[in-house]
């Protein structure tokens, strides 16, 4: 069902993702203030359109720290965690998915049961327990993302590999005497790569939410600003200064929508069935 039909999405998504990447890469340069610098005389300043000053565009928090700078540095943490987390989740998922789909048999049964068991437990709960076990920190969030989300990749890659395996070019490669490993890397993988791009885009959106959730419940690093951490702080003062929570929530929602919509449109472009 097309979500792209009502308004032009792709350009919006690309704009958001480029902006996010830019903020993440150049955070120290573009942020107007040090995100940790306190200024207790200027705490709870509202954003400029609600009567604040142009010096603090989005206002300041309870300790007088500049909200805009904290948001920009939060983008850095979000991108860092979701890029690394998604990459390794994809790596594990793709390797296991390829092996399981290509070789079948006992290996496939084992991996498939593992994936089923993994996915039957609600990920939020698993994630929180896991993060509590490892202890708080950014690395914890990355590990949680990898451990929870490799199954998404594994399932799709497995079923796609089964489809590819029965195609003529793989038979030809087998007759040609290629080893299974070479067939997987040189023949099957390039054919599932477009699908992988879609999955990765969707996964980035999910990973950003996971990061927000874990920092929201206090299981990410408390030494650097994170979007979830900002939401958690903002929740405390939501009745006095709703923008402290509003700004990071707005950022996450926009980023998540952007990744979802781009995932949708990539899928449409590479999937001829959907395109027709």
């Amino acid at each position: 069902m097309p979500t792209t039909s009502v308004f032009k999405i792709s350009s919006f998504s690309i704009f958001v993702i480029v902006l996010l990447g830019f903020a993440a890469l150049f955070a120290p340069i573009i942020a107007p203030y040090d995100p940790m610098a306190q200024d207790l005389k200027n705490s709870f300043l509202p954003p400029f359109w609600l009567g604040g000053t142009s010096e603090h565009l989005l206002g300041t928090d309870s300790l007088g720290r500049d909200l805009l700078s904290r948001i920009i540095f939060g983008a850095r943490a979000a991108v860092y965690v979701s890029v690394i987390g998604s990459f390794f989740a994809a790596l594990i998922g793709v390797v296991l998915g390829l092996l399981s789909g290509y070789f079948g048999g006992a290996l496939d049964a084992l991996i498939s049961r593992l994936v089923d068991a993994w996915m039957s437990f609600p990920s939020v709960l698993l994630c929180i327990v896991l993060a509590a076990v490892i202890g708080p920190g950014l690395e914890t969030v990355i590990v949680a993302i990898i451990i929870i989300d490799w199954t998404r990749f594994c399932r799709v890659v497995r079923s796609e590999t089964i489809v590819q395996k029965s195609s003529d070019y793989v038979s030809a490669a087998i007759i040609g005497g290629l080893s299974p490993l070479k067939i997987l890397i040189k023949e099957v993988f390039p054919n599932i790569a477009p699908l992988l791009v879609t999955l990765l885009t969707l996964e980035m959106g999910i990973a950003i939410v996971v990061e927000a959730i874990l920092s929201f419940v206090g299981l990410s690093s408390s030494h650097i600003p994170t979007w979830g951490g900002l939401i958690q702080e903002g929740r405390l003062y939501v009745n006095q200064a709703w923008w402290l929570m509003g700004a990071p929530v707005f950022c996450i929602v926009v980023v998540v929508l952007a990744f979802n919509l781009i995932g949708d449109s990539v899928r449409k472009r590479i999937d001829p069935v959907l395109r027709a």
């Binding site: 069902m1 097309p2 979500t3 039909s5 009502v6 308004f7 039957s120 437990f121 609600p122 990920s123 939020v124 709960l125 929180i128 327990v129 896991l130 509590a132 076990v133 202890g135 959106g205 939410v209 927000a212 959730i213 929201f216 419940v217 206090g218 299981l219 939401i231 929740r235 939501v238 009745n239 709703w242 929570m245 509003g246 929530v249 996450i252 929602v253 998540v256 929508l257 979802n260 919509l261 949708d264």
Partner: protein, 335 residues
């Protein structure tokens, strides 16, 4: 025949729960940090600490701790919470009704929204209505319940203060329930003021849980509805002169609902997991909120008990789904 199938499924559920228990126990033992160190006052003597260890059984070998815990479960005793100093079983039983009320209401809202949206989209196919509904469905599904909670809290709790944003019931209402199923009890005792207040508190969290769920349900329902609409009995109904809306609701919907019902069973289990964050955000006194504070406090007995409770709820839900399949389709009973 069906009785035997039921017995078999119930027996198979036991090892699953046992596995979860083992995993939970092992996970909790590799937590760095000592749960006792969280609860001692500054200046406690080593003797006091040793005493506490003994009370909570933390001085025994790990295997013994596990056997004591398992034995306790078999006797219905889940141990004592370290942070709250109360029986874990009692804590869970006190909180469970609040979570169940939230989950049931969310499920109801999700099904209502999904059915309304799908019927409307089929009724107004190829018009602006369908495209607007498409967009709404897409957005509702893309945003997870965690973010919906925060958005609803901001817009309808703070900027437009229509609903309360914390708690379950206004403490100024004098209401002394016998059970913890406040909502049902308030209805049966005709306390309409209490019912109203409970609904106001439930409104934001339940809609936050319902939106993504409604979106995924309505996608499935729309698929099966449009499939049903091409069947012969629909053409017959149209020839008989029923209006398009009547054809959809009276004939197509009934047949299209079956896949949606099975999906909502699966989703129900995930809804229970989703309550964790939503309850935390709205300070709603349910199991999920208890779970987060237990994790943050490193309260081992409470975490173990809670995860076991969640696992049992999943197993029961899955069991009910499978049984309903078997009731609908007798061929599945042999498996």
């Amino acid at each position: 025949m069906f009785g035997r199938y039921l017995m078999l499924r119930l027996l198979l559920a036991i090892p699953t729960i046992f596995c979860v228990a083992v995993i939970v126990f092992v996970l909790m033992r590799i937590v760095p940090g000592d749960p006792i160190s969280m609860m001692i006052p500054p200046g406690a003597s080593p003797d006091d600490i040793e005493n506490l260890r003994e009370i909570y059984g933390l001085n025994k070998p790990v295997l013994d701790q596990f056997l004591i815990w398992l034995n306790g479960i078999a006797e219905g005793d889940l141990g004592r919470s370290i942070s709250l100093k109360l029986g874990v079983g009692q804590l869970i039983l006190n909180r469970l009704p609040a979570t169940l009320e939230l989950v049931i209401l969310s499920m109801g809202i999700a099904i209502f929204l999904a059915v309304t949206a799908s019927v409307a989209a089929i009724r107004y196919k190829d018009t602006l209505v369908e495209r607007v509904l498409d967009t709404f469905t897409g957005v509702a599904q893309a945003i997870p319940d965690f973010l919906w909670s925060l958005l609803l809290l901001l817009f309808f709790g703070v900027i437009l203060p229509l609903f309360p944003i914390t708690g379950r019931l206004d403490p100024s209402l004098s209401f002394d329930p016998i059970t913890n199923f406040y909502f049902f009890e308030a209805i049966f005792t005709f306390r309409l003021d209490v019912v109203w207040d409970l609904l106001a508190h439930l409104a934001l969290p339940s809609f936050a849980l319902a939106f993504p769920l409604a979106a995924s349900l309505s996608r499935v329902l729309r698929g099966s509805l449009s499939e049903a609409m091409s069947q012969d009995y629909i053409t017959l109904a149209q020839v008989k002169g029923y209006s398009r809306l009547e054809v959809i609701t009276k004939f197509a919907l009934r047949n299209a609902l079956i896949p949606t019902i099975t999906l909502s069973g699966v989703q129900f289990a995930f809804l229970i997991g989703g309550t964790v964050l939503v309850e935390y955000i709205f300070s709603y006194p349910g199991l999920g909120n208890l779970a987060i504070s237990a994790v943050v406090q490193r309260d081992l007995p409470l975490i173990q008990g809670l995860i076991l409770t969640f696992a049992v709820m999943f197993v029961i839900t899955n069991l009910l789904i499978d049984l309903s399949y078997a009731l609908i389709n007798p061929r599945l009973r042999g498996r």
